[in-house]
Symmetry: C2
Subunit: 333 residues, 2 copies
């Protein structure tokens, strides 16, 4: 193993100069700096993170906790986190809690002890639990994704606006009775999406008011949508908005089986605009956000607070966009 001592010997300086030349090149004469850096490169020197971390108190590592890496949503967020962290010089510990809310707090705690900061994506606990969990983090070393709690920095998508957009789209196509297939109860996004739909549906009795049928809570997977589809048609809805793309695919699947045309008889809208939206047939109209950007924003927030401990807890709200594809169409009489 090549250490600072080896580099120091090779370049004829002391180990402290090596350390400086490599970490903060401005604090060393240009000539010395070059000599040291050349020696380091030649010897294949790689700083020992454990040692530098022990001394400096920084691990140069971030943690990200996701409910399920196989969910394309979180895969994208994790990808964004990893990429941006790398740009800032941080490595990333990824922890998949397998949708088990009870593991969340424990994993965050462990990660907090071995990283500089943690990103918790779509926390599964209640607001109370999440707040407690995060307040144990000294100086705001935790950032939430998809959950907004006062005093805790977070990155969320503008789901309210996105959902409203979706509803307006459906209204414009003539739909007056729209069903919503809901997601997990602890999902903050679900609450926001509901809210957006409700607001956009308009006052009861208004000329262009839309009847919103809440189908309840379903598993956020294909199966959930498959189970909900019949309820939607039974309720007389001509359009279905689903908690996410997978659920929407489940709805499409069941409708197809029953010979109900999409969008001929029923229109379907998903959320998240993950790549599966384009795989569906018909391809899915979906409310999307740039998920990698969400992950990247969370890293930026964290790094900012790590660098400047006095930074206030800010809430970044990323824009959402309605991507119209073939799964939505006009109402037939």
């Amino acid at each position: 193993m090549v250490t600072v001592r080896d580099v120091a010997r090779a370049s004829g300086v002391s180990i402290s100069t090596v350390s400086r030349a490599l970490s903060d090149p401005t604090r060393v004469a240009a000539a010395t700096r070059d000599r040291v850096q050349a020696a380091a490169r030649e010897l294949g020197y790689e700083p020992n993170r454990a040692a530098s971390g022990l001394r400096s108190g920084r691990t140069a590592t971030l943690g990200v906790v996701v409910p399920d890496l196989e969910n394309p949503y979180f895969a994208s967020v994790a990808k964004g986190v990893q990429a941006r962290a790398r740009e800032h010089g941080y490595g990333v510990f990824v922890v998949d809690i397998e949708e088990d809310a009870s593991r969340e707090a424990e994993e965050v705690r462990t990660l907090l002890a071995q990283t500089d900061g943690v990103i918790v994506a779509s926390p599964r606990g209640t607001d109370r639990e999440v707040r407690e969990l995060v307040e144990r983090a000294p100086r705001g070393r935790a950032v939430l994704v998809n959950r907004r709690i006062d005093g805790v920095p977070s990155v969320t998508a503008d789901d309210v606006a996105g959902a409203a957009r979706a509803l307006e789209h459906l209204r414009a196509l003539g739909h007056r009775r729209v069903a919503y297939v809901g997601g997990p109860e602890t999902s903050w996004s679900d609450r926001m999406r509901r809210e957006g739909l409700r607001r956009a549906a308009g006052a009861e009795g208004a000329v262009d008011a839309v009847d919103l049928v809440d189908l309840g809570v379903f598993r956020p997977h294909v199966q959930g949508g498959y189970s909900a589809a019949d309820l939607a048609t039974g309720a007389g809805a001509t359009a279905v908005v689903a908690y996410n793309d997978l659920v929407a695919l489940g709805v499409e699947q069941r409708l197809r089986e029953r010979g109900i045309a999409v969008p001929g008889q029923v229109s379907v809208v998903g959320f998240d605009d993950t790549f599966v939206a384009t795989l569906a047939s018909p391809p899915l109209t979906s409310v999307g956000t740039d998920l990698r950007a969400v992950g990247a924003a969370a890293v930026d927030l964290l790094v900012e607070r790590l660098t400047d401990p006095d930074a206030v807890a800010s809430h970044v709200v990323r824009p959402t966009e309605l991507i119209v594809r073939a799964s939505t169409g006009t109402v037939v009489a």
Copy 2:
């Protein structure tokens, strides 16, 4: 921050006893052990990984390099790696090289310097490059997934058998002309899949021999299959085997657009049996492997070699299975 000293003081023993009681409880009297552990819990002691790593030379961290986390294939492998590593007490650094072969070597090198071992999933470099990259790893601290090189431990799927199975399935359905939509040239799996198909196709002129049409190299995404579909029908194939599920979906998509029934006129088979296979319409017949198990096996291999440096480099070959769904059917005259 709570350190061993605090725990030592609280439990009335020396710091080394604390260290022992916490890491190897057998080397300490039962009563002492309990006292120390209680104190540690009460104080909320979390060992400092940097410090223990610095002293012991172990980082308790593994690295995994994947070409693309958003690819469901690698998401599953990464998930398997993370879960199993956790069971062994290791954290996992995930690095996504964004399908950029030129970043591979550098990332592996960096990772090797800050972890105990590295798993390289589906290396994108040539055999030569991969061998060089891995031989820099002292004492076999690298394991390959989806690439078999002598002397380097690896986990692969039995793609030859899987591909053969797929071809036999098609033959049994009456297909005598089958097209293969190939994947990346540096893909070892692609080579094996080709080989399996070739072998199972049988000797030319045999009664039940199958004509294998090689369509060439395509991008391993939906678009690749979409582009290849017309070539397959143009070549008179009644069945198409695709490099992976996404490619197969692309084939299905294009065929549907052209009004060619699947499986009525053309059957389609994918590889990897990722969750997207079930999303397709019709759902895709696919040759699958338990991808989480692949990741887990890679971790086991690595941990074994980390624990016993004399362990020989073994090659784990995971079984593949043909999952028959609605995208394959009998040939119509």
